[in-house]
């Protein structure tokens, strides 16, 4: 059965494939979190958003209590789940001082943000959020930190654009200068790759984004796409 078989609207095979892989990604080990920890982070984010009334519970929040998460990790997941509006450099530094490593912080940010993506989409098309999976692998995370990462003025280290970021930058972003948003999660390359894959498929790629006469959706003009984007970003108080 396909992921959105209950939807009243036509969901493309590409979207089904991407979102199915997204759902599975929370239940697998990451770079910094075990499968059980990542599942618990996702379930925590779901619970926070359900409690806030911005999405409807489907009853899988119980996965949050199956694995003990540290209070600081829960605080990060909660703040991001609610939009990250109140997060500033002090918040990020305190999370790290309280024991969430910089890599863990970035992975939690990526994971919770990608889950919000799936849940907002489900709400948009009028289906329940897709159920979280039980952890599928007990492999230990690699905890590998890219040597290319450096301070660039953000809260966390990032990999510079190619050529400074070298082969790793090229493998994640492609050649040449890359917008900050596409490099934002690059301290955890797998998270950056996932963010970029979603935007490439559903919004615009680096190659097409500056072509304002083009649209990535047959039914929406470029101005209509940007109006939706701007309204959502206004509600999330995102200056970027």
């Amino acid at each position: 059965m396909s992921l959105y078989s209950d939807a009243e609207y036509p969901i493309s095979a590409d979207t089904e494939k991407l979102h199915t892989d997204e759902i599975l990604s929370y239940a697998r080990p990451g770079t910094w979190g075990t499968a059980a920890q990542r599942t618990a982070i996702a379930a925590t984010a779901r619970k926070v958003r359900s409690d806030a009334g911005v999405q409807e519970s489907i009853g899988d929040e119980g996965l949050a209590s199956k694995t003990a998460l540290s209070k600081p990790a829960q605080r990060v997941a909660t703040a991001v789940a609610l939009g990250g509006v109140e997060i500033d450099r002090t918040f990020c530094e305190k999370a790290q001082a309280d024991g969430v490593t910089e890599g863990e912080y970035v992975e939690i940010v990526g994971l919770v943000s990608r889950l919000a993506h799936l849940d907002v989409f489900a709400r948009g098309i009028g289906v329940p959020s897709r159920r979280l999976r039980e952890p599928v692998d007990d492999k230990e995370p690699s905890c590998e930190r890219p040597l290319e990462a450096k301070r660039e003025g953000f809260f966390t280290e990032t990999i510079p654009s190619e050529p400074e970021g070298g082969a790793l930058a090229k493998s994640i972003f492609g050649k040449g200068p890359t917008p900050n948003i596409l490099r934002s999660l690059s301290l955890v390359p797998d998270e950056a790759r996932r963010l970029n894959a979603i935007l490439n498929q559903e919004y615009f790629s680096v190659e097409t984004i500056m072509n304002f006469d083009s649209s990535s959706h047959e039914t929406l003009s470029r101005p209509q796409i940007e109006i939706i984007a701007a309204k959502v970003s206004e509600l999330n108080q995102c200056f970027y």
């Binding site: 409807e56 003025g153 953000f154 809260f155 963010l195 047959e218």
Partner: protein, 84 residues
């Protein structure tokens, strides 16, 4: 209306907005609008939580409407103004 409703706590309002969107753009329009709202729900969280700054090439052309729309007052504006 749809973009606002899909992030709101008011389910009835969302249902009404989706119905209007369907009438205007058809079923594929509902899917596309939902994907864009979803994408920016993700992007905004990442941008706010990592504290990325806006690229200098974007700051000049957006100066007039940023001020007029109150965008400079968003907490995350500090990530750009503090960085330049």
């Amino acid at each position: 209306m749809f973009a606002k409703s899909v992030l709101s706590t008011d389910l009835d309002r969302l249902v009404a907005a989706r119905s209007r969107l369907f009438d205007c753009l058809g079923p594929a329009g509902v899917v596309s609008a939902s994907l864009i709202a979803a994408d920016f729900s993700m992007v905004d969280r990442v941008a706010n939580a990592i504290g990325i700054s806006v690229e200098p090439m974007v700051m000049g052309p957006s100066e007039d409407f940023r001020e007029r729309l109150g965008i400079n007052e968003f907490p995350s504006a500090a990530n750009t103004f503090g960085a330049t």
